[in-house]
Assembly symmetry: none
Homo-oligomer: 250 residues x 2
DNA sequence: GAGTCTATCTCGGAA
DNA sequence: TTCCGAGGTAGACTC
């Protein structure tokens, strides 16, 4: 593990270390009093303060304050970083192309610089998502109701993709909208858009919102619109087999 | 600046440092080979790998890989963090209430631990050029407008500290917000919060944003809110005499 | 590239 | 506290 640390480096030493760290595409961590200005999709300026600066090998650039999860200023992966001196001041600059964005950080006082070359090994697996809910319903259609038959998944409409399209035991079209968390009014609006597209053309269209729970306002709107709600918990187990398709049903 | 660093600490030394850092609500930065498991709104597990771990004074907990802006695992502000040993292994745990979520990180090998106590945010914004601007205005109130009289400095409200509080020649309350760099919408919002606190109680409250320049959006918002802008350059020279008080004016 | 959708979205403001 | 909308959303995926 190549790891280098320098406490309270001089300006010239900080410059040298940062130049080397950037050139070698290291993961760089800086604790410093700094100010920042950003210009691109928006514009911002940040006064002097103690901050944590992180530069990743993929070009990600972050300025973190002492609170919140999100960085106060940042640049996405593939941004180009460089360090330079201007009138005795030390600057870090990160530039992104398309859209053109520029973040400039002035380092007033550097308390700590550390950098090293990490290699990440394992990927993260997460479950509890909408796709897992979809898999579960495709495999167990009775969770929606007895006689429900899925017909299509991710069905494209001009309003977006319908999670699951199917028919009930009477042959009525059923539009299923999945949410892995508590459903709000936005979910109902989304479902309503899908249903409206089909209601124009034919009768007997049912819209079903599937979620572990629903807000009060959303439930009211749902009932006003003549739509239905199914309380279903998303699966919590990690799936290794992620290839469930509709082949069995078509 | 209290700042402590330890390279390649032993397990017991790492434990001691982390316990102290958490207890003192420091900003903690760890470079380590670790694995993580999360359970809450969703569930995830992350195999061993070199990662950057950041624990903020507000309870924010982040595990960063060597790419992407977003952390691979995290907990939001106000989460509770603790360190413990279990069967010779070193663990970090961060727990959130409502919704109940738990993130556990096993530290296989710690390369670097550093933590420090960033000074209070208020102190930070006051230090540097902003306080010099304040000094300058206290000494030359006419810079704001003829007849302006400063009354209080760093006046505490429930929304934060008002840079300068004063009265105009008609006796109307004036709230001055200083920015040493180009002011953005956040500065306007900040000023608006202060003004709102007083507008509730009395009439004739004026809010003045003082900065060397202002963004287009900020100026628009400022005018919509009935607030005012004064273009003032911060003094170029940093002052060593930092003890300007309001005694002369009270 | 541009467009769409998900997310442990985060975050701030309001009821 | 919960709910709701905004975001430099980021990130993944399709076309």
């Amino acid at each position: 593990m190549k790891c280098r640390v320098s406490e309270n480096p001089s300006r010239s030493e900080a410059y040298r270390l940062l130049e080397e760290g950037i050139r070698k595409r290291s993961l760089i961590v800086i604790l410093a009093c700094c100010s920042a200005s950003y210009e691109g999709r928006a514009r911002s300026s940040l006064g002097a303060g103690e901050r944590l600066i992180v530069i990743k090998p993929d070009g990600t650039f972050m300025v973190h304050q002492d609170r919140k999860v999100d960085p106060v200023n940042w640049q996405p992966p593939r941004s180009r970083c460089r360090v330079y001196m201007k009138q005795k001041s030390l600057f870090l600059e990160s530039i992104r192309r398309s859209p053109e964005e520029r973040l400039e950080v002035e380092l007033h006082e550097v308390h700590l610089i550390s950098f090293y070359l990490p290699r990440d090994m394992h990927e993260l697996t997460v479950s509890g998502h909408e796709s897992d809910m979809g898999d579960m319903i495709i495999m167990h259609p009775h969770l929606i109701e007895p006689g429900f038959r899925p017909v299509a998944r991710e069905y494209a409409t001009s309003s977006g993709f319908i999670d699951i399209l199917g028919k009930d035991e009477n042959g009525s079209l059923m539009i299923i909208e999945l949410k892995s968390r508590k459903a709000g009014v936005s979910a109902v609006k989304q479902l309503r858009r899908y249903v409206d597209e089909f209601r124009d053309d034919q009768v007997g269209v049912r819209g079903i919102l599937v979620a572990p729970s629903i807000t009060h306002d959303a439930l009211e709107m749902l009932e006003d619109e003549g739509l239905e709600f199914r309380e279903i918990e998303p699966p919590r187990e990690l799936k290794s087999n992620r290839g469930v398709t509709l082949d069995n049903f078509l």
